[in-house]
Symmetry: C2
DNA sequence: GATGCTTGTAAACGGTCGTTTACATTCATT
DNA sequence: AATGAATGTAAACGACCGTTTACAAGCATC
């Protein structure tokens, strides 16, 4: 039962992500699952209920992720030196992991596409899209850089501009990857992204040593 | 007559840009224009014909723009020194102008949004979206930077990475601007964008003089 | 002033929409 | 074996879909 309900949700999401909510009919969802549309109403009270369940889940996952690899903001003072370098490495890993999540994870990738298609229809969807994939990450990155500047790790530059210059390539590559199609081919994107973060950090961090 | 046809096109585009092609009914378009849906069929042979006319026009405009402020690629050798600096200023102006075009121009802005909503439905729309707003500009920027490197204006770095790092903030800001809403408030975006291009050029161009 | 073309309305067309209803089937529990 | 909840099908519902048709009004041309 819970299994069927789950299949309905994932199938509907996959279709919503391609065509948009309005363009997908209940009949289409049912047929993609090999059942009749009447059966869907045993699991969801209507079409919108499926959509809402998807959104609800993403909000939950997003919250969990935020808690999970939150850069440990409150532990800054607890750690001595040597922390800065580890933190910079974490940024690198975190960035690639963000890319993989939004392009490879089936739920996240489809949700992002679905939200891309719904963002202009209501302010609620616009806010959710912005929070998850645009202004949200930028704001987080800005806070991070502001902190790094205060700590003397980064050069004293406008953190807002830094955040945009750092995050924008990630955002662009995620969107570009959608076109190149199937999984496995994103190796190029990941490499570009790695080079970007490496070069970005290198050129904004304060030289406390050498260049190789 | 041509006037009515034009109004239909712009009204339909405005609705397509908000809700997506499938979610907008012929009836809705007609009522937004204060006529009955039957009247639309005097000007367009069906709903898809309106959509195709929009696409056709954008392709034409895009071609004209490419011809208009094409960075004069073939005139490089015709011009002596002193060209490089002017060219760098042009890049700055061109970038801001691109932002304004895709956010302020009513047709371009709505077309971009419409294409954003249709990009996953067919490879044709995906290609058009990519060509106009994603991979197309990146490829163009990459060519430009490769040329500037060859000319000795830019430092010897990967032009692909440079192109992404330069164009991505423009792409991000265009998408962010959609949320902030009404016109006139994009002053912040333009300023950020200006700072980005200025700082980008400054940090990748070969110092043939001083720092202020 | 009749003609014919343009531009509109109103109604109808078959089809699909989301949803509800009536009726089977399954299957653990009694 | 009987019960009853869970899960499915098939058909029907009114509403709306894109499109076509029949018809009217406006208007320049002969």
């Amino acid at each position: 039962m819970a299994d069927t309900k789950e299949k309905i949700l994932m199938t509907a999401l996959r279709l919503f992500a391609r065509d948009g909510y309005e363009a997908v009919s209940v009949r289409t969802i049912a047929e993609a699952l090999g059942m009749t549309k009447g059966a869907l109403y045993r699991h969801y009270k209507n079409k919108r209920d499926i959509f809402d369940s998807i959104v609800e889940r993403m909000i939950r996952i997003d919250g969990e992720r935020a808690n999970a690899h939150q850069m440990p903001a409150e532990k800054y003072d607890a750690m001595p030196d040597a922390y800065e370098n580890a933190s910079l490495e974490n940024i690198q890993k975190y960035t690639v992991e963000q890319f993989r999540f939004w392009t490879e994870d089936e739920f996240a990738s489809n949700f992002r596409k679905m939200l891309t298609l719904e963002q202009y229809r209501s302010t609620e969807m616009a806010q959710l899209y912005s929070q998850c994939i645009v202004a949200g990450p930028v704001a987080y990155t800005e806070d991070l850089f502001r902190e790094l500047i205060k700590k003397g790790v980064f050069k004293r530059e406008d953190p807002k501009l830094l955040a945009i210059e750092f995050y924008a390539p990630l955002f662009l590559l995620i969107n570009m990857f959608d076109k190149t199609g199937k999984t496995g081919e994103n190796g190029d994107c990941v490499e570009i992204l790695s080079n970007h973060t490496k070069q970005f950090i290198q050129s904004h961090v304060i030289d406390s040593g050498e260049g190789k």
